[in-house]
Each structure stands twice: as structure tokens, then as C-alpha cells.
Amino acid sequence: MTHTIVWTILILAGLGLLLSLALFWIARKFKVEEDPRIDEIEKVMPGANCGGCGFAGCRAFADAAVKAPNLDNNYCPVGGNDVMKKVAAILGYEVKEKAPMVAVVRCNGTCEARPRTSVYDGDSSCRIKASLYSGDTACPFGCLGCGDCAAACQFGALTMDPATGLPVVDQEKCTACGACVKACPKGVMELRAKGPRNMRVYVSCINKDKGAVARKACLSACIGCGKCQKVCAQDAITVENNLAYIDFSKCKLCKKCVAECPTGAIHAVNFPVLPPKKTADAPAAEKKEDNNA
């Protein structure tokens, strides 16, 4: 009995020693020489492997960053400027600071504003729905409401609001990786500058139909009336194809356009709540709360 135990221990120990030597030798013999900076960069990366930078994952990004002559084309949206500064320090490069971004939903066609014209009976996927037809509302541009964006978000920053049928962005969790932008077959999601103290103004609609058609399909559609364009002192608003767009690099957040918009398609979020002055401002204030939720 004791013999068996002793022998077992001896044999196992011997085997272990032998195999570890073999492994050691193999590791030495077949070692792949890699730039040690890749490991260093990978350590400072967020490690989400989300692909938001355009590379397959954090290590692929690190590999590309080491090989690149500068960091102009390599930017980690998840880590933002802090991470990029560390990466630049490791590589000895300059880094251009970028304004932090956040995903916004450019559709505010809620269930009330945008009545359903048909009942979609297929698999719950925006991509399938979009391949089939223009959507179950009269608006062929807006959100389809099946939540492909929310499914694509790795950070849990997107949820579908059953009351509105639209996705809601949690700006604290959103890393601007762009997965939702790629996932949305309608191009409803957009990455925009987060703005000072998270305040931003944007057109929450991408309907390019003529005003009357758009209005008929959705009460809160941009009808391309151009009032916002006229009132904007910064020249930040362009109206093309019956649709207004606010250039966030020019916008000074004066909110004049928000008050001017007849359909409430322009959203201003995260502005401090002011006591309501007139009834005309009320819809905008409500919208803001929607987005904060």
C-alpha cells in the first residue's frame, strides 16, 4: 500500500518535471519576437474589444498603433483622450485630442406621434424588417423599433423604451464605439460631440420626405421648413432634402432653433431646467426629460 503511494507520487512528480522542461524548451525555441510596446499599450486599453476603433480588438489596435507613423488614424473612442494620452506617452507620439462623443437617436417618432400603419409579424430584427419594407409606420426613414442597436451595444448603454418604441441612450454608459451606428439599417443613430456639461442640441429626425408627407407620417418629424436655419446665428444649421442638420462643431447651444421648431424635432438635452416662461417652450422641456431618463 505505502509502496503504491510512493511510486505514484514519484512517477507523477517525474512526469511533471519532464513535461515542464519540454514546455520551457518549446517556449524558448518557438518564441515570436514582438514589440514589447504592444503589451504595454494593451495594458492601458479599456479591454472591451468592441471594435469601435476600427480594429478587431484592443490588441489589434495596439499592434496597429505601434506600426503607425502617428496616431492620427488610431483613436480609441471608448478610452477617450485619457487612454490616448497614455498610448501616446508609450509611443512618444503626439495625440490630437478629440471631443468626447456620444450616440444620439435621430428619431423621435414615438408611438403616439407616428401611428402604426401595419403590424410586423416577422422575426424581431430591424435588419430583416428593413429588408422587407419601409417599416410599419408611414415614415420610411425612422426607427424600426426592433432594437438591433440595443442588441449590438456591449456596454448596456442602449435600451428600448416600450412606451415610445424608440431606443434610449444612457450617456454615462455610452462609449461612442459606434456599434449601434453600424447595426442600425436606417442610419438613425449618430455619434455627436458630447458637448460642454453634456449639453447638446440636435435634430432628432432623418425624414427626407417633403414637409406635408413627413408631417402626415409623423407629428414630430422635421418638415424641412427652414425656420431653424434662419434663426441660427452660427450658421450651424443646413437644410437639405427637406431635412435640417445641426453641425455640432459650429453650434453654440443657444437653443433658439429648439424654440423655433414647429414640430419639436430639435432636441436640447441636459440643459439646466429653467422655470417655464411660455407655453411654447413646454414641449422642448418635456423632450429634455425624456432624454435624461
Binding site: 409579424d121 416577422g122 419594407y133 419601409s134
Partner: protein, 447 residues
């Protein structure tokens, strides 16, 4: 007569040809028609009329905008009111020519008599030109321009023209009615196409559930006495009318993955196309009308119809004329229940390839909530392409494009057999179709 069929898969849905006894009626014209510029596979046609122009029936109103494209002719006489985008059946904007109907004056040179013209012109190129000029497209569903298909190029060797009278989709009876009512014209049309293809063999395939059509077409073939045309009886099995399946059934040859029918020497044309070819070549009549079935499981038998319609007529007008949409209709389908498309917008207008307005009840069409795959293998048994839909479904959900291609998702013909037979009610085809689109895009980009 021997029954033939294709080798792999297939399902046997209830054929529900409720409207088989309804003779073709001529649908009266509405006050306004909207003629779509995208009535065919390929590039939408370019309008050649202007607002305010007066047009006659059969006059060209749009020209092809590319090699795979087709002429569009005015289905009515009247005045062009507008040329503007309008929502099609799926709710997408497509350019339409709006014409206010005034009288019914036909363009010159169109033979409106019903006398049968048996003699086939001898000039092959002239026939093809006429088919092209008359805007003929395949009426079996794909609306592929017929002149392109009948001209497979100098290297091709067409051996067999298969005229498709299978009409394997449940409910539809438009092909059946024209086979019963206008067999001689169909046979002449087939003979014309056979001639264009260099006098190859010609087989007219009809499913066994249409004995009247088999006898009427056989009689016409015997009476007209063209050489090399035969009628074959096909087994009742869906998708018997699928191009690759029909070739397999008739010629016992399988079109290779990614290949065209001509690669095995086959050209398939629908019976309705044969009729359109006859009218174009022998009567100089462009393709402005076709037969459409108004049917459905929730439509009483006495309200079922087969209409000879002109293109550009709003579907809502046809529905009204036929007595309105039945109350318990839950889904409106254009085409058959297996491969047709849901009608999203009833204000859309008829096109060359419209074959039905199908009213399906909640009970017949509402999808059950998906359950889980129980690995029964029914989808794989049903797939006429020998694919494994349960596996493709899983891969599609995971987005594994490499494996999808390795498992031949691109061979899928979207016939719907898998989803039809899935006891777990899984949306197999919904997902496979998307994956197929992506994989085909990848394959195309690689070339």
C-alpha cells in the same frame, strides 16, 4: 401520362385553388392609373413622356435604362398628369407616371382581333427586337426581361425550352385560367420562343392538379402541329415551378451552384410569358395587361375572381371592384402564400408581374411565437436545395459569414419550405434571407 418531379425536398401545402372555376373577366379601367417605372428586374425605366402629353394605349412611355431593363407602355389612353415618386407595394418610393384615363384609344399597328396567327416570322433577330420593344418580362415572378433570357449569347447551347405551367403556389389560378382559356396562343408563343432559341426541344410542364389545363394544352399542341413540343405532367409538389427544380424534373440535370439554367442547356419561361410573347410577336401588342387572381381563404367562393387587368391600376380599386377587402382578412399578399410578398400599401398599383391579391385570415397566416429547435430535421427534409436551414439559421443569428458560405446559404431560393414545415415556428427564412444577401454581397465583392 407519366408524372415527373424534382429530386430533393419539397412540401405539399394544401393547394386551395378555390378560384379555379372562375373564368377570366375583364377589369374596367379606373379614372387614373399610376404606371410604375420599376416593373421588371434590373434598372428602373426612364420616362420619355412629359406632363401634359396625351398618350394612347400601347404607346411607349418609358425606355430601358440599361442592359437588364425593359420598355414600359401606356396601359390606357389619356393625359399624363404627373411624373413623380409614389409608394410601391412595399412602401418604398418609386417613380410613377400618372395618366388620367380618357377613352380607350389604341396606338396604331396593334392587332386587336382575336384571330389566331399561326405562322411564325422567320427572322430570329426581328422576333427578339419585337419582344424587347413590347416590354416583355418574365411573368413567373422574377420579371426578368425576356429578350435577355431568350438571347443567351453565342456560346450558349439551348437544348430545351421549358414552359412553366406548374403554378405550384397554393391559391393562384391565373396561369391555370389562361391555359384553359387561351391554350392555342400559349402554344404559338412557346413555338416562337423555341424558334428564337434555335429550334430546341420544348416541354410544357403542368402540375397534375390541373387536368383541364393539361388536356387543353395537349389538344392545342396536337391541333397546331408544331414539331418538338410536348406536354408533361408534373407531380403536385411545391416548389415544382422553381426554375432549378423544374429543370431537374424535366431534364434530370442540376444547375450547379451559382450557375444559370443555360449552363445545362435549359431556358425556363412561364406560360403567361408565352402568351405575352405571342401577343407581342403576332399581334404587336405590348405587355400592358396580365391576369390576376383575387382569392384567399377568407373570401367567399362566390367572390373569387380572375381578372384581366391593365398595369397601373391601384390594388385598392381592384379590391373595391371585387367587393371590398373581406372583414377577417389579416394579411394581404401579392403572389402566392409561399413566396408572395405582403402588401403594405394597398394604394400601390398593378405591375406587369402582378399575379394575385390574396386575402389570408388570421388563422391561416398569423405566425406562432417561435419555440425552440427540436432537431427534427423537417426543414432539411423540405429544403429543395438540400441545405440545412436549422444550421444556417443558427449561423445567421451568430453572423458567421464564413460558415454560412461554406454551408451554401447562397444557394437558397427563398422558397419558404423550411419555415413552412418548422414545428418550432422558427423564423428560419427571415434570418437566412438576410444572411444570403450578405454572403452574396461578399462573393460579389470578391470577384
Amino acid at each position: 401520362m407519366r408524372k415527373i418531379t424534382f429530386g430533393i425536398g419539397g412540401v405539399h401545402p394544401d393547394d386551395a385553388k378555390i378560384s379555379r372555376g372562375c373564368a377570366i373577366e375583364i377589369l374596367p379601367l379606373p379614372e387614373t392609373v399610376y404606371v410604375s417605372m420599376a416593373q421588371h428586374l434590373g434598372a428602373p425605366a426612364n420616362p420619355v413622356v412629359a406632363v401634359g402629353d396625351s398618350v394612347k394605349v400601347g404607346q411607349v412611355i418609358a425606355e430601358p435604362a440599361g442592359f437588364i431593363s425593359a420598355f414600359v407602355h401606356s396601359p390606357v389612353s389619356g393625359t399624363v398628369k404627373s411624373i413623380a415618386p409614389r409608394k410601391d407595394m412595399m412602401g418604398n418610393n418609386v417613380m410613377h407616371v400618372e395618366i388620367a384615363v380618357e377613352g380607350d384609344e389604341w396606338a396604331e399597328g396593334i392587332d386587336l382581333s382575336s384571330t389566331l396567327v399561326k405562322e411564325i416570322p422567320s427572322d430570329r433577330a426581328a422576333i427578339l427586337d419585337r419582344i424587347k420593344a413590347c416590354g416583355i418580362v418574365g411573368l413567373g415572378g422574377a420579371t426578368f426581361p425576356t429578350h435577355v433570357k431568350l438571347n443567351p449569347g453565342p456560346d450558349a447551347h439551348p437544348e430545351c425550352l421549358i414552359v412553366n405551367g406548374a403554378e405550384c403556389e397554393p391559391y393562384l389560378t391565373s396561369d391555370f385560367r389562361i391555359m384553359v382559356e387561351r391554350p392555342a396562343e400559349i402554344v404559338v408563343g412557346a413555338a416562337i420562343m423555341k424558334k428564337v432559341l434555335g429550334d430546341c426541344r420544348c416541354v410544357i410542364g403542368i402540375e397534375e392538379n390541373k387536368p383541364e389545363a393539361i388536356s387543353s394544352i395537349s389538344k392545342a399542341v396536337a391541333e397546331l402541329g408544331y414539331e418538338g413540343i410536348e406536354v408533361v405532367k408534373l407531380k403536385k409538389k411545391y416548389p415544382q415551378g422553381g426554375e432549378k427544380q423544374l429543370i431537374d424534373a424535366v431534364m434530370k440535370r442540376q444547375v450547379a451552384s451559382g450557375g444559370l439554367p443555360i449552363s445545362v442547356g435549359a431556358v425556363v419561361q412561364n406560360v403567361a410569358t408565352a402568351l405575352a410573347v405571342y401577343e407581342a410577336v403576332q399581334k404587336n401588342k405590348p405587355l400592358i395587361s396580365n391576369v390576376l387572381t383575387v382569392t384567399g381563404d377568407c373570401l367567399p367562393a362566390d367572390r373569387q375572381h380572375n381578372y384581366l387587368y391593365r398595369i397601373g391600376i391601384p390594388l385598392s380599386y381592384i379590391a373595391q371592384y371585387a367587393g371590398g377587402v373581406p372583414k377577417d382578412a389579416a394579411k394581404l399578399v401579392s403572389g402566392g402564400p409561399m413566396m408572395g410578398r405582403s402588401i403594405v400599401n394597398l394604394d400601390a398599383t398593378t405591375v406587369k408581374g402582378s399575379s394575385s391579391i390574396l386575402y389570408l385570415s388570421q388563422k391561416a397566416t398569423k405566425r406562432h411565437a417561435p419555440e425552440s429547435c427540436i432537431r427534427c430535421g423537417r426543414c432539411a427534409d423540405a429544403c429543395p436545395m438540400g441545405l440545412e436551414p436549422f444550421h444556417l439559421y443558427r449561423l445567421a443569428k451568430a453572423g458567421d459569414m464564413e460558415q454560412l458560405e461554406a454551408n451554401s446559404v447562397q444557394d437558397c431560393i427563398s422558397c419558404g419550405c423550411c419555415q413552412y414545415s418548422c414545428p418550432g415556428f422558427l423564423p428560419l427564412l427571415d434570418n437566412i434571407n438576410i444572411a444570403k444577401g450578405k454572403v452574396l454581397g461578399i462573393i460579389k465583392a470578391r470577384k
